[in-house]
């Protein structure tokens, strides 16, 4: 089974859960005065769940014929060639993004951003450490200044223990 059909299957399962929530868990909570409305909060989700399952099944069983397979070019992205790609780098960058999200508040904007930018370059294979850290530090300082002073949005600059 190809990846797009797996996704269709997962989507159908998702629609079933969504539909279950819409059909069986939402209406009891409805106050009596709203029950006289022709539209309930669950109406639209119910319709969507049913439509989603139908279309998911169409994709799953391939009822719509593809137009003919084109050979994917080198520039196009294709999961069958995933092993040729820099998968490790991409995963490490994603982990770095999560770490950034978690560290942004406790570590403060300046430190977290500098580490993120320098770390990102390092993951991609940059080895000129001083240039890298310098660029990252200047950039995070500049962005902090722009966001804080020009746009007027508060970003906590310093780590928790320096406040």
């Amino acid at each position: 089974m190809t990846l797009d059909r797996w996704i269709a299957l997962i989507f159908i399962a998702f629609c079933c859960i969504y539909g279950y929530a819409a059909f069986f868990t939402m209406d009891q909570l409805l106050p009596p005065f709203m029950q006289r409305n022709p539209v309930w909060p669950s109406t639209f989700p119910k319709v969507l769940a049913v439509l989603g399952i139908i279309i998911g099944l169409i994709v799953l069983f391939g009822l719509e014929k593809p137009s003919g397979e084109d050979e994917p070019s080198a520039v196009d992205i294709n999961y069958r060639r995933l092993h040729e790609y820099n998968l490790g780098q991409a995963l490490m960058l994603l982990v770095l993004m999560v770490a950034y999200a978690l560290a942004l508040r406790p570590a403060g904007f300046l430190l977290a951003t500098t580490v993120f930018l320098a770390g990102g370059s390092a993951i991609l294979g940059e080895r000129r450490w001083i240039t890298m850290i310098l660029i990252a530090a200047i950039a995070s300082g500049a962005v902090w200044y722009l966001v804080q002073e020009v746009l007027g949005i508060f970003l906590r600059p310093l780590p928790i223990f320096l406040r």
Binding site: T2, L3, D4, W6, I7, F11, C15, Y18, A21, M26, N37, P38, V39, P41, T43, F44, P45, L48, A49, L51, G52, I55, I58, V59, L63, E64, K65, S67, V75, I77, N78, Y79, L82, Y85, N86, L87, Q89, A90, L93, L94, M97, V98, Y100, A101, L102, L104, T113, F116, L117, G119, G120, S121, L124, G125, E126, A139, V143, L151, G152, I153
Partner: protein, 508 residues
């Protein structure tokens, strides 16, 4: 219309707004040149900045400028590197890149700029003519028609997704609609599908979703496959772009091409789901078919006509895509969907009332399109050799910055770190969907239209206490039938074509 243009001129010619046009065009050109970052990602990144401006006119002018700039920048990298930054400029590289290889990069850039300018300007004129007419019709619409119109829009986007893709696009549309039901809607005043999480109470943030759907997957792809940002050319980034002039004969040859393709591109842009990419490919194909003999043989080898056609078509289509957005409040493309989200965040409701309630916004945007085109022509063209230097930024530095701006875009609007985790999660999901060849623009359009669709649906249900509005309002019924036909027609035609092909194979 003249009165409107005067209003627009007075609004657009304030110092702040002129600055916005120039800034938008420059930023758009800069980022649009980077391979892999399309106008949608750029606009998504710019939205928090536009929203903090506070003034909807300035914000929309900035974003429209970014949009134009991105398309212009995309054609620059198509011509210089054969690496289109934007899908809408792929056709530009067919003839632009051969010209650059011949050492006529400067001439190619000028022709592209002139064609873009003409396409954008003619498009803006047509917009100024058609938008008021369409919005006076749209004033007759009630919520039932709006509901039906949105259904038409959503199914048209799926129908134009290409052969074999309609069901997938519909699936993504429904996924977008489902995501839109999360959170506490104004309609019912009760939280839905939040799973008890406080962060989902206000629903999924649309900037986060837009970033996750477009900017993040593109950045991940750039990491995964360095060939996407390959610079296989010797002219690239060297800054040696000379000879910006083209000859009189060439000028004469491209004038009719530009005229035809500007008009055709505009009307393709108006259709929901079609947009700049289809307009540019179709424009190229039409001009190649019209051209005769020697001219036709030149296509693909560096023909000035082949360069001018997609360039004027894609710019005119960009302008055309503003028609449904400004008159009906219904976006026809991913980019205008993002613009719609930005407008809603700024407390502006695009639609037929926009022209009446806030004519200054409406006309300022149209006027700024003229100004934006002039800026692109006279400011960007001479600067191109310098701006093209951005193409030589090493990707080791570029990609972390793209990721960082994506994160910032999601963060500064909300000041909530959970938003960043959602961004990464949704971004991974979007990447997987892209791998499986699912189109993502329908998802975002579904998400943005979801709330409006449900509100209009509920309002018509309440007015008619039931589904009677479908039968009792002929316009609603007609629109819904059109929607159904749009979805069913492609599969019907494909089936007929297959049957005919089989017939040929059998020999009858």
């Amino acid at each position: 219309m003249l009165e409107g243009i005067m209003i627009g001129l007075s609004a657009a010619f304030s110092v702040q707004n002129l600055l916005m046009v120039v800034a938008g065009c420059l930023i758009g050109t800069f980022i649009g040149m980077l391979p892999g970052l399309g106008p949608m990602s750029i606009i998504a990144i710019m939205i928090p900045i536009a929203i903090t401006l506070g003034d909807p006119t300035a914000a929309l002018i900035l974003l429209a400028g970014v949009y134009y700039g991105a398309i212009f920048g995309g054609s620059t990298s198509s011509i210089l590197l054969n690496a289109p930054g934007v899908a809408g400029t792929v056709a530009t590289s067919f003839d632009g890149y051969p010209m650059a290889r011949r050492g006529e990069a400067g001439k190619a850039l000028t022709i592209a700029a002139v064609a873009s300018f003409a396409g954008g300007t003619i498009g803006a004129i047509l917009l100024a003519i058609f938008a008021p007419a369409l919005s006076s019709v749209a004033l007759l619409f009630h919520s039932a028609e709006y509901f039906a119109l949105m259904v038409v829009g959503l199914s048209a986007i799926a129908a134009f997704a290409g052969t074999g893709q309609v069901a997938k696009a519909l699936m993504m549309t429904i996924f977008g609609l489902i995501l839109a039901t999360v959170g506490e809607g104004a309609l019912f005043n009760m939280p839905r599908f939040t799973m008890g999480m406080m962060d989902l109470q206000s629903g999924i943030n649309f900037i986060t979703l837009a970033m996750a759907m477009f900017a993040l997957p593109e950045a991940i792809f750039l990491v995964l496959n360095p060939a996407r940002s390959s610079r296989g050319s010797e002219t690239g980034g060297s800054g040696k772009i000379t000879g910006l002039r083209f000859s009189k004969a060439e000028g004469k040859a491209i004038i009719p091409v530009i005229g035809r393709q500007s008009v055709q591109g505009f009307f393709i842009g108006v259709l929901p789901g079609a947009g700049a990419t289809i307009a540019s490919f179709l424009g190229y194909a039409v001009e190649r078919n019209i051209a005769k003999g020697e001219d036709q043989a030149q296509f693909g080898k560096g023909s000035v006509k082949g360069l001018a056609a997609p360039e004027s078509a894609n710019n005119a289509a960009c302008t055309g895509s503003f028609v449904p957005l400004l008159t009906l409040g219904i976006p026809g493309s991913g980019t205008t969907a993002i613009l719609l989200g930005a407008l809603i965040a700024l407390n502006v409701t695009p639609g037929p009332r926009l022209m009446i309630d806030e004519p200054d916004i409406f006309w300022a945007v149209i006027t700024s399109m003229f100004i934006g085109n002039v800026v692109l022509l006279i400011l960007n063209l001479p600067l191109i050799p310098y701006i093209a230097k951005i193409l030589s930024i090493p990707r080791n530095y570029l990609i972390p910055f793209i990721l960082f701006f994506t994160l910032m875009g999601a963060y500064i609007g909300q000041n909530n770190a959970t938003e960043l985790l959602m961004l990464v999660g949704l971004g991974v999901l979007a990447t997987v969907l892209r791998f499986a060849d699912y189109p993502l623009a329908p998802l975002l359009i579904g998400f943005i239209l979801g709330t409006m669709l449900e509100n209009n649906f509920a309002r018509s249900m309440q007015l008619y206490s039931g589904l009677d509005f479908i039968w009792e309002r002929p316009m609603t019924l007609a629109l819904l039938v059109v929607a159904l036909l749009l979805v069913l027609l492609p599969s019907f035609r494909a089936r007929r074509a297959r049957r005919r092909a089989q017939g040929v194979a059998d020999g009858d």
